[in-house]
């Protein structure tokens, strides 16, 4: 697969035309909702004339369609925003463009990033890059697939509970969920404010780190961004202490997923690292915390879609209340409604303490447990998901079964810690399997260095 360096110092117009042609050839995967061809070619010509320079000059990329970006509507894969033309660009996109990167299109996702398979897109599912009868994973499924199909060397995603890591695992590419607050969320459609993060897919760890280093940093337009801490490292790591999370290696987890994880552990040991089994006893409860806290936050964030200032407006209504109700009913998919209503339930008077407050207290217990582990271990390792990519339609009738695919990724989201999803081989049928590396807050560079050192092994 191609890497970022393959595109540097090349004719940018040719690179963009090639990427767009390849995207069109792979239309059947439904990974992209739109192409930004006109604007991409204009920018490519500016790069070729030497007017735009930088670390990513002429490198084509794709954004998940919940990033506000010029050249095509920002739909969040919903009818609510089907015709929404962004009046501004996300800070992450601006920073990449300032280094000369060229956005060629916008990738499919579960509507408003609610889902783990990209089957909740209002415009139809994305198909897995390796086996088109299977899901792409989600919610950033389109971004994972365009990277895995080698249409672009990197693609942006958002990760609230695993939405970058799980599709990276399902399609065999690198996926990054950074420390909470690393990258500005200004101009990205909000889901759950206390766990939303911005990250990337790439074909190599080095490329993923480069993209993250460009996007990272404080932004006055997002007051939750951390003071700059992120510096890409080249130091090789020796003799790390690594914990294998045993709650992720139970009999419920696919046998080949466990086998690939154990092989990765053996390679870590061969490289001189010390790996021990550890317990994260709150892990089995994390998904329950997540499905209280996240619906609560998103029900508030999605209150802004009222059919008044922007987005879909229902026709033929008489009163303001009808306008709100019908616009929202028509503009959201069922999973959006399900989550909004769960959020309304857990936040409503009489249930708040039992659900929302209890979940936020349990979250403290989870974070305390992570902190204790990170006082003894540099890195934790687990599979990314309990199975490889499942079949299209396999889990759509049972939301809980769908949610269980996030079991191993939600703990890092709730704790705000960084986590990488890196390829670790395939199962007997050739389906990709990924492992997850987690570190303490702000230890992103350690994870990249470790993952990079293992990549060649």
């Amino acid at each position: 697969m191609s890497t970022i360096s393959d595109f540097l110092n090349k004719n940018a117009r040719q690179s963009v035309q090639d990427a767009i042609a390849k995207a069109k050839d792979n239309d059947s995967y439904h990974a992209l909702l739109s192409l930004t061809e006109e604007r991409a070619l204009e920018r490519a010509d500016a790069v070729d004339r030497g007017e735009i320079t930088g670390k990513l000059a002429g490198v084509p990329f794709v954004v998940k369609d919940n990033f506000l970006a010029y050249g095509a509507p920002t739909t969040a894969a919903s009818t609510m925003l089907e015709t929404f033309n962004a009046p501004l660009q996300a800070t992450a996109v601006e920073r990449l463009e300032a280094e000369g990167a060229i956005c060629i299109g916008k990738a499919n996702l579960d509507a408003f990033a609610h889902g783990g398979s990209t089957e909740n897109s209002a415009f139809g599912p994305t198909k897995n890059a390796v086996d088109p009868t299977r899901v792409a994973g989600g919610s950033s499924g389109g971004s994972a697939v365009v990277t895995a199909l080698d249409i672009v060397p990197f693609a942006l995603g958002s990760d609230t509970g695993g939405s970058i890591r799980q599709p990276a695992s399902f399609n065999g590419v690198v996926g990054v969920k950074p420390t909470y607050g690393t990258v500005s969320r200004y101009g990205v459609v909000a889901m759950a404010s206390s766990t939303d993060t911005i990250g990337t897919f790439a074909t190599t760890v080095t490329d993923a780190e480069l993209v993250m280093s460009i996007m990272a940093g404080q932004d006055p337009k997002d007051m939750t961004t951390l003071p700059d801490f992120f510096t890409a490292t080249t130091d090789a790591l020796v003799g790390l202490k690594i914990g294998l999370v045993k709650e992720c290696m139970t009999d419920d987890v696919d046998v080949e997923v466990r086998a690939r994880t154990n092989e990765y552990v053996e390679k870590l040991k061969s490289a001189g690292h010390k790996v021990e089994e550890v317990s994260l006893s709150m892990l089995p409860h994390s998904l329950a915390m997540y499905y209280v806290i996240v619906p609560a936050e998103l029900s508030s964030n999605l209150a802004r879609y009222d059919g008044i200032r922007y987005g879909h407006r229902a026709q033929g209504v008489q009163t303001l209340a009808e306008l709100y109700g019908k616009s929202r009913d028509e503009g959201f998919v069922t999973e959006n409604k399900r989550r909004i209503m769960i959020g309304s339930y857990v936040l409503s008077s009489g249930f708040f303490d039992a659900y929302y407050l209890q979940a936020q207290k349990a979250r403290t217990l989870l974070i305390n447990e992570f902190n204790t582990l990170f006082s003894h271990y540099d890195v934790l390792i687990s599979p990314v998901a309990p199975t490889p990519a499942f079949l299209l339609g396999e889990n759509t009738s049972d939301p809980i079964k769908m949610y269980l695919a996030d079991m191993m990724t939600v703990p890092a989201s709730l704790a705000g810690i960084p986590a990488l999803s890196v390829p670790a081989g395939t199962n007997g049928a050739g389906l990709p399997i990924g492992v997850q590396l987690m570190g303490a807050r702000r230890s992103d560079a350690t994870l990249f260095a470790l993952a990079r050192s293992m990549e060649a092994k």
Binding site: P87, T224, G416
Partner: protein
């Protein structure tokens, strides 16, 4: 286990400003009941004396100067996003 009735669904839909179609109500009732049943496991955890976590930035009081910033966006571009507008104003159905 928490029982959710059809009326509960309609109440939640009202709280959420969602005018649900009849065809969606039964499915959502089952799903919401199952999801609440799943998350009820949290009640087994002993959280006495534990402070809730509301944010994970470890930042506090991020100040900015109190100056006007239009973020580079002009009024006309924003009004143009509204589904209906007239004379630079957003149109809505009558409120009262």
């Amino acid at each position: 286990m928490t029982q959710i009735t059809r009326d509960d669904v309609l109440h939640l839909a009202q709280l959420s400003s969602l005018a649900l179609g009849d065809d969606e109500i039964d499915g959502l009732r089952t799903d919401i009941e199952n999801i609440l049943g799943y998350v009820e496991q949290l009640s087994q955890l002993d959280t006495s004396g534990v402070e809730p976590t509301y944010q994970v930035t470890d930042l506090e009081n991020v100040w900015r100067t109190d100056t006007i910033d239009d973020y580079g966006i002009n009024r006309d571009d924003l009004i143009a996003l509204a589904p209906e507008s007239k004379d630079g104003q957003i149109k809505v159905p009558k409120v009262l």
